[in-house]
């Protein structure tokens, strides 16, 4: 019961935070969607980091390290430290500048303007929304699993099937409801504050979890002695990357490029007060990734050592390895706080994604087609909120299908966004990009993505790779290449953009 009460207290705290943020809400659309461009370096760092680190980072990384070993850190964490910051530096700051100069709120506004094409928005909208929904599912499903595991035994009379734990469907519903409330009332300001708060919570509690689990698993007197005892017991295949394909590892490098095309990150970039606000996030992002991922990966490989018996249901669903260890090793009070930390990581991504989808719908569909003057600011905020509710409902309904691996689902979602990266990069730096080239790139991306996703049995085959001359290649490499070739090839054979359009975007 103690973890349950702590989780309830934490969720209540978030609602209070959303309420206070709503007190500062000025009522304008710009304030609701972009916090009036008022976000400074620290809040930008915390909100961007909190948004990019989701269930995927905490729950998924531990589970994947449990299955695959330490190589998971190199595959996604250290590469992200280099490439995420590269995207912020090369694309983020430039898009922020263009966004401020021309008054953009969403990616689609930028692409419509840059490509001088209204219909590119109609093509991109369903694709971006369709790719964000699996990303949302990662969080919603993981949150439900964490709540069920951590509350087991709390309500034996009510939930017999889950050994007294709150069923994951109910847990997911509660998390969706809380995030919906503070996004609904607090808008981007509430989201940024909640992200900053939650990022601090999950970083601090992640380190505490690491220390506690190490001590309880090892059973020695000092932390170092425990770490050494656990380190020596890691099986060879988890301690090294002997079972990992080098080409697969190499092609994973493309996955972190996805941040360049995340619509919710675009919106966060535009909240920045100045270009200089980006400096702190660019420098600290790799360090923060290390602080979160190294403990999670170590906990994942320790779970393979035999110092703790991992029951078959947990082995079958690696997403719950971390909550399981917290539950059995941390005790009820600390376990409750650590669960709050895991949920913090999950919710700090869900909020931005919900807000972003609402903003895209009200800006790129409703305002765009009905006319900017058709609705007042308050009506626009109302429409944004309405679509947020709809998206939360759709996401929750999809989560009831319970896809198995958080990590695999995330990789497919990131592969789609990463393969659209050539489009955003070319839009910012390549004058010769044409609208037909952009259409070709987007269509090639989505066709190739569907083709490979189908070949991977819609994600069921979690180790799916493409065989290229005997080398295992991640599907993202092929999708990325298809996107790039189609975009460049078609751009070169079609009429260049108008001089007036180029003058708007290039000096």
């Amino acid at each position: 019961m103690t973890p349950f009460l702590i989780i309830i207290g934490y969720l209540g705290l978030l609602l209070v935070l959303g309420f206070f943020a709503s007190r500062l809400f000025t009522g304008t659309k710009s304030d609701y969607q972009l916090a009036s461009h008022s976000i400074g370096p620290f809040l930008l760092l915390m909100s961007i980091f909190g948004t990019t680190m989701t269930a995927f980072a905490l729950v998924g990384s531990t589970g994947e390290a449990f299955k695959e070993g330490i190589g998971v850190y190199g595959m996604l964490a250290s590469s992200s430290g280099i490439i995420h910051s590269l995207c912020f530096f090369v694309v983020g700051v430039k898009l922020w500048s263009l966004g401020r100069r021309h008054g953009y709120t969403t990616q689609i506004q930028f692409f419509r303007d840059r490509l001088d094409s209204d219909r590119i928005g109609l093509l991109l909208f369903p694709i971006l929304v369709g790719l964000v929904i699996p990303y949302l599912l990662i969080g919603v499903i993981a949150a439900g699993g964490v709540v069920e595991t951590m509350t087991s035994g709390a309500f034996p009379d009510f939930f017999e099937a889950t050994k007294g734990g709150i069923p994951r469907n109910l847990g997911s519903l509660a998390i969706c409801g809380v995030v919906l409330c503070y996004v609904f009332f607090g808008g981007m300001r509430g989201t940024a504050w909640a992200n900053a708060f939650q990022t601090m919570v999950f970083m601090v509690l992640g380190i505490v979890a690491f220390g506690v689990i190490a001590s309880r698993l090892g059973g020695e007197e000092t932390l170092l002695a425990n770490l050494q005892k656990l380190g020596e017991a890691i099986p060879k295949e988890k301690l090294t990357r002997v079972e990992m394909s080098k080409m697969k590892f190499f092609t994973y490098l493309l996955i972190p490029l996805s941040v360049g095309m995340f619509p919710h990150l675009f919106q966060h970039w535009l909240t920045a007060k100045s270009a200089s606000s980006f400096k702190l996030p660019i420098v600290m992002h790799p360090i923060f990734i290390m602080i979160v991922w190294v403990p999670c990966v170590l906990i994942g490989v320790w779970a393979t050592t035999g110092f703790v018996k991992i029951p078959p249901p947990v082995q079958a669903n690696a997403n719950i390895v971390l909550p399981f260890l917290v539950k059995v090793k941390a005790g009820p009070v600390l376990g409750g706080f650590l669960t709050a930390g895991i949920l913090a990581a999950v919710m700090s991504s869900l909020d931005s994604q919900f807000l972003c989808l609402g903003t895209m719908f009200s800006t790129d569909i409703v305002s765009h087609y009905a006319g900017r003057e058709r609705f007042t600011d308050r009506q626009n905020v109302f429409i944004t909120r309405g679509f947020i509710i709809a998206i939360v409902a759709v996401t929750y309904a999809c989560s009831l299908a319970q896809p198995k691996s958080v990590f695999t689902l995330g990789i497919w979602c990131f592969s789609g966004f990463a393969s659209l990266f050539p489009l955003v990069f070319a839009a910012v730096y390549w004058r010769r990009l044409t609208k037909w080239g952009a259409y070709a790139g987007v269509l090639a991306t989505i066709s190739a993505w569907i083709y490979f996703f189908r070949a991977a049995e819609w994600g069921k085959n979690r180790s799916y790779t493409i065989d290229v001359a005997g080398y295992e290649v991640m599907p993202v490499a092929a999708i990325f290449l298809a996107s790039l070739v189609a975009m460049v090839g078609v751009s070169l054979v079609t009429r260049p953009p108008k001089a007036a359009t180029l003058a708007k975007f290039f000096d």
Binding site: Y73, G74, R100, V297
Partner: protein
């Protein structure tokens, strides 16, 4: 983006492939698998690279471009 920064980022990406510790079972400080320790060092090196980049390669013209022109 200056060529020096491009070169450093390229070197980081080459170092990231890390074929040399692929099957090495050494434990750094007696507990940290060397493959993980090496990649944590890559993360620190990335932070240092970006610190250098924002100090010496920052596109200052973007600050001037947008002063006083918010319109969203």
């Amino acid at each position: 983006m200056p060529r020096s920064l491009l070169a450093v980022v390229f070197i980081l990406l080459v170092l990231h492939q890390d074929n040399w510790f692929w099957a090495d079972e050494t434990l750094v400080f007696g507990f940290m698998p060397i493959g993980l320790f090496y990649h944590a060092c890559i993360s620190v090196a990335a932070g240092a690279t970006w610190l250098w980049a924002v100090k010496f390669c920052w596109p200052a013209e973007l600050e001037k471009d947008t002063k006083g022109e918010p319109s969203a």
